[in-house]
Amino acid sequence: MTNYITGMNQLLAEHTKAVPNAFIFGQNINSGTFISGLSKNLSAHETSHIVNTPNCEYSMCGIGFGTMMNGGRAIYYAKQLDFMLLGMDQFVNTLNYIKVAPMPAELGSFSIVLITCDQGFQGPQSSFNGFGDMCSMARFPGFPLMSKQQADMVLRTQLAAPGFRIISLSQRLFRNEILDLPILASAPDCSWFQYSDGADATIVSFNFSLPQAVELRQKLEEKGKSAALFQVSFAEKYDWSAIARSVAKTKRLVVIDDSKSVHLPGQGLISDLLESGQSFQATVVRREGVDWGMTDDVMPVDYSSLLTRLNANG
């Protein structure tokens, strides 16, 4: 069995080494804990540089953008999502400028690879998992790495692509077996992935909730039902057309999102489909509330009630 962190680390090492002329940097990137194993075994293309940097998150984000503006490729390995709150000014103000202003060279790339600390027992701080909130504030893409195949596609096509994005692992999944899910279809920009088609329900997972979505699909199959399964990344603009086609067929949409955010893109999906005139049953699986103290941080999912609602318990 290959666990999640080992599998993801192998993919990261493989795809990072393939990027030429890159500035690859981060705190503890090649020393200490290797960022909890995130950057273990990392090596650089012969024309690239790996540099261990001091604890200057805000400035390192600015340096990433400056490198990108001059046509360079910057890859910033960082420990955790909440550390990047220090970079929000760069994500919003600097990136907005880059979107509008003429650049001195063909735009390079800037990718931040990090871990969302959603494993629980982090206490009131360091448990921020609102990945989509961060992406939404400046409308940049964010890619939660979930399955082996999806991570491979994201890293192959996005890691050194022109522009900025954040790519995140889920620490909650580190010791789990890595999801082995063949991809049925996907968007060219990796903004969504479809893992299966089905006639009885359309399940759409956001943030790091793909395992719960896979479990729901499994329970439906055990009841003789088939479900379409989608995973949606965070995007500047969502294209719901593939999901809409599935919902038109199944008439049942289940959105699952484990984020602690108040604002969930899945609710936008439901709203957009309703506005387009589609008629369907909508179910949102989300956190009912958030305990900001020391907890396991697990989002409970009542599968029995879900199956009943999806007419699969009869």
């Binding site: 002329n21 890159a22 500035f23 540099v51 940097t53 001091p54 200057c56 805000y58 400035s59 390192m60 984000c61 600015g62 340096i63 990433g64 953008f65 400056g66 490198t67 990108m68 503006m69 001059n70 046509g71 360079g72 490729r73 910057a74 000014d89 760069q90 103000n93 600097t94 400028y97 509008v100 202003a101 003429p102 650049m103 001195p104 060279a105 390079g108």
Partner: protein
């Protein structure tokens, strides 16, 4: 005071540019007074010597990063005033096609790559540009023009650490105008000995003062050569007097004690060393200065109509 025995000790081309930058800024100021230019430009009257000197030493691959008060540096990169005025008018013929306005106006074709209105935000972007130059094999330096307010932000110190670690060709120009968010240094903090701060981080420090465009240009040229030779950052603090209000026209309100009036007083605002045009005049023979002034003022009259 400047010794009259040393008249004509400044390159007439540099002197012409100092006067032209002052004249162009007067035009912008007068247009804001009239309402012809509606945008509240963050003027930089008093920056003409450093802006001219910096531009004179920039190499073809050097890259300049500015703040919202980047007007003098931006104008120093132009051959004519129209593209700047058009940008302030949000016209498609503006330097940045009317999309960036005054506080973010850039000009990549003249080396002005990034202009930020966020205090301290641009220091690390300049470091990144220097890193990008290394990666793409360019042979210039990155120059960040920041100020005595922005150096209070933590990112300033972070970039002293990181630019030295990464051996970046970076000139950190601290334009100390004793002014940040409309407050003086004494009004907001205790003095900072920037020379000692730089020494603590192992970064070379240089000080420019006196508004002599010729000596500024010579000094900056030497510092640039050292940055390229040693692949190390240098902090250059320049003492400035800002001769205008924070943003918009000066005077800023009826009864404002700060007066800038081109029609009444001509180019020079302060009759002392705080004014780069006054200093430039003192470095030139009166006839030479008069010729330069006449030539400069003969241009662009239509913008004052």
């Amino acid at each position: 005071m400047h010794d009259t025995m040393h008249r004509n000790t400044v390159d007439p081309a540099l002197a012409t540019r100092v006067l032209q930058l002052r004249y162009w800024q007067h035009i912008v100021n007068e247009r804001m007074k009239k309402g012809t230019t509606k945008m509240a430009v963050h003027m930089a009257l008093g920056y003409e010597a450093i802006a001219t000197a910096l531009r004179s030493m920039m190499g073809p691959e050097d890259q300049l990063v500015l703040t919202h008060r980047g007007v003098a540096h931006n104008l120093a990169g132009l051959d004519k005033l129209d593209p700047a005025l058009d940008e302030y008018a949000q016209a498609s013929t503006g330097i940045s096609a009317g999309r960036l306005g005054s506080m973010n106006m850039s000009n990549p074709s003249r080396g002005v790559i990034y202009v930020s209105s966020i205090l301290g935000n641009n220091v690390s972007v300049a470091s990144g540009l220097a890193m990008g130059q290394k990666l793409t094999g360019k042979n210039g330096i990155a120059i960040i023009a920041t100020g005595d307010g922005a150096m209070e932000e933590g990112t300033f110190a972070e970039n002293l650490i990181v630019s030295r670690l990464l051996n970046l060709r970076l000139m950190i120009l601290v334009e100390n105008n004793d002014f940040a968010m409309a407050s003086t240094i004494a009004e907001r903090r205790k003095p900072i000995d920037l020379k000692s701060v730089c020494a603590g981080y192992g970064v070379r420090y240089e000080l420019l003062s006196g508004n002599n465009v010729g000596s500024y240009a010579d000094k900056l040229k030497q510092i640039r050569a050292d940055i390229i030779e040693k692949n190390l950052p240098v902090v250059v603090e320049v003492s400035l007097s800002m001769l205008n209000r924070h943003a918009g026209a000066t005077p800023g309100w009826p009864g404002d004690p700060m007066q800038v009036d081109f029609f009444k007083n001509g180019l020079i605002i302060n009759q002392d060393d705080t004014d780069p045009v006054f200093v430039t005049r003192s470095l030139l023979d009166p006839d030479v200065y008069r010729d330069i002034e006449e030539k400069v003022l003969a241009q662009d009259r239509g913008f004052l109509a």
